[in-house]
Symmetry: C2
Subunit: 427 residues, 2 copies
């Protein structure tokens, strides 16, 4: 098993129609390849949990057992433990969002939040608006409920709200079930939605009466520039998804959703059906881990570490890649989006790259419709600056052959007329 | 929030059609009431985690951090940690089922297994066959995918396979997406499917080409009689759901599914969409908790404890309830199913019972169609024998008024002709 290839079998034709559209994630399938010790992983967005002190987790567990006793081992309320929701209120407050524990549901990572929202809102054929490219896990979660996902291009300032407006005009009022956005250090593009566009996006959402889903896993991982207020801080009707995966560790599978209470009540029902309740154990451990200030030192260390790795990646891209390749400049988060000339297909490069000891994620994985074929996502979160530099060097080497061929084509005037140059694929 | 009441709101009409059929669980809503210290809870099926040694959990966490290091804090494979799947192979072997780690996916409790199976198999209107009454969490999980649930009555020997055969004949080959059964100490009925009926059920499933889903949370909690082989031991095509909630603790939210590989591959895709992967942290802690033999002593203690509580409940029912009330005799598990005369409605008794300091779950919660109104589920897993005796005494007191009225009706020949006497509601 391991990889999620589908085997044809005697139950064929018995599965639900929704399963036809559910894709495996290339990102997840790559985890296996990336674990070879000689391979430099620029693929998975894995936080560097090697920097989370193990004793702190053991101590938090001991405290959880001592103070919360049996309740940390028992079933709990589907909305999550009150004390952890209070912790989340504090975190949100630091980001500029005021809410109370009753405005929050604890989820199994932000991924479960995406699944529950899709479950609550989406009938087959419903329209969802997202950035293009967008988070592959969101595409997976939504696809189960068979929506039609419309992607809005981005540039270095985030989602092109002018193009969003055009799309909304085409669809009309309530023409989409929600607008899904990752405003900070977008996954995979690495770009950040600027404040004036945040305001405009919210105006448009109100005008066309469409809920906004703000996914903010990386908000606290900023390496330059000042904090930008979340959409939720500007409009209490915004549905907000947060996660402990980047503050503490993904292995606890803890995230949260805040939403207007009527929506939250339905999400709660959906969560009961999905898993009864979250892990009281993980929640109690997280509660105690987040007590005191130790976690802030760990997070500051992580942020400094990721920042240095980003710098290494940007420097290496500048050093090893030629002028006909472009990339984004993330102010935080985990990812850089690299765009090769339009005729190149990064999926075709991947096997060769793995052979050369480096992995990335092909751009087309981040679109519902195969766009982004000439792009790739590079993650700088996990490897050391030296490894990142070497990884980018290897990758440039793999690309160079194809790029030379491409340049020869261009020089010969042989570039096909139907060049797949897509606006907003961040070229 | 807390309770999952749905609030009407400005997003009405925007939710997915599937949400109309998703019910809140009275069982979960009762957790709140049951937490009042003066109330004796005979409602929730909560394992007695007070008997799980906290030091063992802290020690397991320390070992997890020491031996598994960062991997216990990281994202993991969607199928679950290999070492934990090896532990599960061992557990299944002890129950008489031979399989390998690759036949298993770790889930967030067995509840997620139910959700994933429904997600993979059910289109709206598809038929699912279940016992009636059946597990309320299964009704919840399935209802999201809008199936038509057909309930097969039970008697003291479990599902009436003669009535199953009639139903299958009506539906025809492949006429249902799956047959869902809890063969051991059924929730809520407390009855066990006898060996000859297990074989017959499997014959019928093969004849009509319908997958069987065996939900076995209580298999190891037997207080009398010998072990009966799981359906999965008799037929490798059976889909089996297990859980650590009753062996270790529900707070870790760990269960598992074994299924034929083609089905498992699709369940894996569905799981990726739902939450990317389970908690590596919980899994690693469980791995280390299950190392050595300490957990066997804890489980033996729990089994002895639950057995004594069952005895107390059966004795109290015999002492305090009159002849026109009947109940089942569970050989294991957590629940006794009590049937009052047909005209009584236990839902109407519940508020009064809570006032008298005792809770139960009304029988109609365990049917998709309001049947079972004269029944109730009593749980003996959580309270002490003394509390159970007192709880049953209080409950009998609450029922006695209604029963007297009922007897007067009968004596006067005034029982309505349309008596709601249902075959197989275990009267």
């Amino acid at each position: 098993m391991g990889s999620a290839r589908v085997i044809f079998d005697r139950w064929d034709g018995r599965y639900a129609a929704r399963m036809a559209g559910v894709r495996s994630s290339a990102v997840r399938d790559l985890f296996a390849a990336a674990s070879r010790p000689d391979v430099i992983s620029l693929s998975g967005g894995m936080p560097d949990v090697r920097r989370v002190p193990h004793e702190a987790v053991t101590r938090a567990t001991r405290d959880a057992m001592r103070h919360d006793g049996p309740s940390a081992l028992q079933y709990g309320g589907s909305e999550g433990r009150y004390a952890l929701r209070e912790t989340i209120v504090g975190l949100m407050g630091e980001s500029g969002v005021r809410l109370g524990p009753d405005d929050i549901i604890v989820t199994a990572g932000a991924q479960q939040g995406l699944d529950l929202l899709a479950r609550v809102f989406l009938d087959p054929g419903d329209v969802v608006i997202a950035e293009g490219p967008t988070y592959v896990g969101a595409l997976q979660a939504f696809s189960v409920y068979q929506p039609d996902i419309h992607c809005i291009p981005m540039d270095e300032d985030g989602m092109r709200v002018d193009l969003l407006e055009e799309e909304l005009r085409r669809l009309g009022p309530k023409g989409a079930k929600f607008i899904y956005t990752i405003p900070n250090f977008q996954n995979p593009a690495g770009v950040t939605l600027v404040p004036e566009r945040r305001r405009r996006l919210l105006e448009l959402a109100r005008e066309y009466d469409i809920p906004v889903v703000e996914d903010d896993p990386y908000g606290r991982l900023r390496y330059e520039g000042g904090h930008i207020l979340p959409l939720r801080a500007l409009d209490p009707d915004v549905i907000y998804l947060g996660t402990f995966s980047k503050i503490l560790a993904p292995g606890l599978r803890l995230g949260w959703m805040s939403a207007p209470k009527p929506i939250l009540a339905r999400v709660l029902l959906a969560k009961q059906a999905a898993d009864l309740c979250g892990s009281a154990f993980s929640q109690s451990v997280a509660e105690h881990y987040m007590t005191g200030t130790g976690w802030r030192r760990v997070l500051a260390d992580l942020t400094a570490t990721y920042g240095a790795r980003r710098d290494a990646m940007l420097a290496a891209l500048g050093e090893f890649f030629p002028d006909d390749v472009t990339w984004t400049h993330p102010e935080g988060g985990f990812f850089v989006w690299v765009t090769l000339p339009a005729h190149l297909d990064t999926k075709a490069l991947l096997a060769e790259a793995v052979e050369h000891g480096v992995t990335f994620v092909p751009g087309s994985d981040f679109f519902p419709d195969g766009r982004g074929a000439n792009c790739m996502r590079l993650a700088f979160c996990y490897e050391s600056p030296e490894q990142i530099t070497e990884g980018v060097r290897r990758l440039a080497e793999v690309c160079e052959d194809k790029l030379e061929l491409y340049r020869a084509f261009v020089a010969a005037g042989a570039v096909p007329a139907a060049a797949r140059v897509e606006e907003g694929v961040l070229r």
